[in-house]
Symmetry: C2
Subunit: 351 residues, 2 copies
DNA sequence: GAAACGCGCGGTAACGTTCCCATGAAGCAG
DNA sequence: CTGCTTCATGGGAACGTTACCGCGCGTTTC
C-alpha cells in the first residue's frame, strides 16, 4: 500500500530509543512486575513513537504458543458451517486468537492435508468436523482438538460439540403434534449416515412416550440434497393416503426439495401438505411458503467448540460431550389442523 | 487427542538420526542443490522416521515470510462473502499458504482491530473489503494489500478486485429486453451508496445505446434488505401502469422482498410482474418462482484477489483494477413477452 | 605435478522474543 | 559499620530454521 516497505521496528529499537536494555523493554511491554513506573512509561512512549508491534511469530517460537487456532469444516459456503465459523471466529477474537479456516469438501485427503498444514503452522489446537472415518489421520493430529457434529461420536477420546438431535426431534415432533399432525411421514438421509440412525432413534423414543406405534410412520430415504428430498417426496405422494400429509425432513435442503415436489404434483403447501425442516438455513425464509424448521444453533456451536478447545489446550478436561439445544423456527409451511384453532385456517381461506 | 503431548521433533533430531549436521539436513529437506542423492535419501528417511514437520513459525522468523494471508470481510455468514472466502481459501491453499479470516460487521473499529491483529501475526499480506471511509486506518496497514468491492475505488493507490457492474447491468438489461421488457422499473439502494451511482450510470449508458430515454424508467430506492425491497415494490405497484411490470433490483435481497410484495398485493410473479435480481445468492433458487438474477462471481473474485495479492507481495504491480464479469442465472421470475417466442408461454399454459 | 576449481558438508550467525540469572545499588537490621 | 535482603536492570541463552562462509577432498587444466 504505502510506498515504503521498510523494516518493522523490533523491541531492540524500542529499547534503544528508551535508553534501556531489551530485557527491560520486554518487561515493560509484557506488563510484568519489577519495573519502575517511570521506566515503563518511557518504554511505552518509545514503543508508540517508533510504531512497535510485537512479533507474534517470535513470541510463538519462544513460548510454544502461536495464538492461532485451526478450523476445518466441510464447506464455508454452506450456511450452517458459515454460521459455525462465525461463532468460532468471534470467540477466538474475543480471546485474542486468530483462526485459520479450511474447507475439506467432505474429502478425507483434503482434511488430512489441512490438518498437516495446521500442525506445521503451529496452531495451538483445532476445531474439526471429522469427515474421515479412519481414526488414523485424526489421531495423528497430536494437538488439542475438538470435534463438531454427529460423526464425532466415532471418536470416544475426543471432546465434541454438536446439536442435541434428540431434543431437536422432540421439539419438531411436539410442534407437529400441537398442530394436529400425530403421525408425520419422515424423509431421512442415506442409511449409511450415523445421523440418520440417531434421528430415527429419537423419533422412536418420542413415539413410545406418546403411545404411537413407530411402524405406522411412512419413511423415505434420500441424499441430503434438494434433489434427494424431491424424489423422496414424490414417492411419498405416490403412496395412497387420506387427507392431509405432514412430513418431517431431516434436512432443510431435502425439505425445500420436498416443497418443490409438492408444487410439481399440483398440490399446495401448507394446504395439502405440511413440511417441517431441520437445520435453519436462511434460504428457508425465502421459500414460499416460508419453511418451518428446527434450527441448529450453528453460531453457538462454533463458539462453544472454541471454548472447549481452550479448555483442552489448558488441560482442563471438563466437558467431553456438549449437545446444544435447537429451537423451532416457525414460518408458514405447516397447516394447523388442531381442534383448538381451526378458525384461523378457515378464516384465512375465506377472506 | 493422543495421550502423549510431547516435544515435537526438530530438524536437529532429524540431523542426528541421519548422522549429518543440521545444515545438511536443512539442505536435504528444502530440496536445494549441492547434496548427494544418497545423503538426501537418508535425511528424508530419518525425517519420516521421527515424524518431523517443518516449523513454519521458525521459517517465518528466519525468512520474513510467514506463509499466512489475511482476509477481512464484513460477514462470513453472508453467502456472497462466504463465496469470496471460499475462493480465497482455495487459491491460498493451492499456493501452500493459510488464510486468517475475520469478519468486520461493517464496523470500522473492528476492521482496524483485525488489521492490527493481522500485522502482529506477521501475515504476508491481506485481502480486505474496506468499510472504513478514512484512508488513515487502511493506509497504516503498511503491508501488501488488495481491496475487494466497489468501495475500494475510494483508494486509488491500492489494487482492487470487484465485479464488473457495467457489464452486469448490460447483461441484465439485455436479458430483460430479449424477453420483451424494454423499460423496466429499477429498485436501487440508498442514494448515499457509491454502488447505486455506478449501477444507474450503467443503466443510462445502456439506454442511450438503445435510444431509450432513461427518464421514462421508474425508480424506487430502499435499503439493501428484504424489507427495503418490499417497500420499494409496494410503491411501484401503487403507481398507475398498463400491462406487465418488469423490475430490475440492484440486490437479491431486495428482489426477494419485491417478490413478497407482489404476493402481498395478490399478484403473481412472473405472470403479472417480472423480477430480475442482482447478486446470485443461493436463497434465490428456493424462492417461488426461482429468482432470475445476475450473479456476481464471488468465488472467482476471492481467487483473483489472492492472486493479485501474491503479485503485490512479489512487487509485481501489474493489475491495479480488476473487474470480474457477472453472468445471468436464469430461473423463473421473468415472463417472456417477446414476439419471438410467445408459443413457449402459451404452450406451457395449455398442455 | 602444482594450481585452480567444483562440490559436499559442517559451523555459526541471525531472525525477535522472553526467561533466567547475575549485578549492583539501596535499604535495613543487628 | 557490616552483612543481609530487596529490587530494578542488564547480559545471555534459547526457541527452530536457513543463509553464508570456510574447509577438505577429488577432479580438471596448463
Amino acid at each position: 500500500m504505502g510506498p515504503r516497505r521498510t523494516r518493522r521496528p523490533t523491541i531492540i529499537d524500542v529499547a534503544e530509543r528508551a535508553g534501556v536494555s531489551k530485557s527491560t523493554a520486554a518487561r515493560a511491554l509484557t506488563g510484568s512486575s519489577n519495573i519502575t513506573e517511570e521506566t515503563r512509561d518511557r518504554v511505552v512512549k518509545a514503543a508508540e513513537a517508533v510504531g512497535y508491534e510485537r512479533n507474534h511469530l517470535a513470541v510463538g517460537m519462544r513460548s510454544g504458543r502461536s495464538g492461532m487456532l485451526g478450523l476445518v469444516i466441510p464447506d464455508i459456503t454452506n450456511p450452517f458451517w458459515a454460521d459455525v465459523a462465525r461463532g468460532a471466529q468471534d470467540r477466538a477474537v474475543k480471546a485474542g486468537a486468530s483462526l485459520l479456516v479450511f474447507s475439506s469438501d467432505w474429502n478425507p485427503e483434503a482434511e488430512a492435508a489441512h490438518l498437516r498444514t495446521l500442525r506445521r503452522a503451529r496452531v495451538d489446537g483445532a476445531v474439526v468436523n471429522p469427515v474421515s472415518d479412519s481414526f488414523e489421520d485424526l489421531d495423528r493430529f497430536g494437538l488439542p482438538c475438538v470435534f463438531i457434529g454427529s460423526s464425532a461420536e466415532r471418536f470416544p477420546d475426543v471432546s465434541s460439540v454438536g446439536s442435541d438431535i434428540a431434543q431437536a426431534v422432540r421439539v419438531g415432533l411436539d410442534h407437529l403434534v400441537s398442530r394436529g399432525h400425530v403421525t408425520p411421514a419422515l424423509i431421512l438421509g442415506p442409511k449409511s449416515r450415523l445421523a440418520r440412525a440417531r434421528f430415527l432413534r429419537a423419533v422412536h423414543e418420542h413415539c413410545v412416550e406418546r403411545d404411537v406405534d413407530p411402524a405406522v410412520l411412512a419413511i423415505e430415504d434420500g441424499e441430503y440434497t434438494v434433489e434427494g428430498g424431491r424424489e423422496a417426496m414424490k414417492r411419498l405422494l405416490a403412496q395412497p393416503r387420506v387427507g392431509h400429509l405432514a412430513v418431517f425432513a431431516a434436512n432443510d435442503m431435502m425439505a425445500l426439495g420436498a416443497m418443490m415436489a409438492v408444487r410439481d404434483a399440483g398440490l399446495d403447501c401448507p394446504r395439502d401438505v405440511s413440511i417441517l425442516g431441520f437445520d435453519g438455513i436462511p434460504s428457508g425464509e425465502f421459500a414460499w411458503p416460508g419453511l418451518t424448521t428446527v434450527a441448529k444453533p450453528g453460531r453457538d456451536i462454533g463458539e462453544r467448540a472454541i471454548e472447549c478447545l481452550f479448555d483442552e489446550i489448558d488441560h482442563k478436561p471438563e466437558h467431553r460431550r456438549v449437545y446444544m439445544p435447537c429451537r423451532l423456527l416457525e414460518r408458514g409451511s405447516l397447516a394447523d389442523l388442531s381442534a383448538a384453532a381451526p378458525k384461523r385456517m378457515a378464516g384465512a381461506g375465506r377472506i
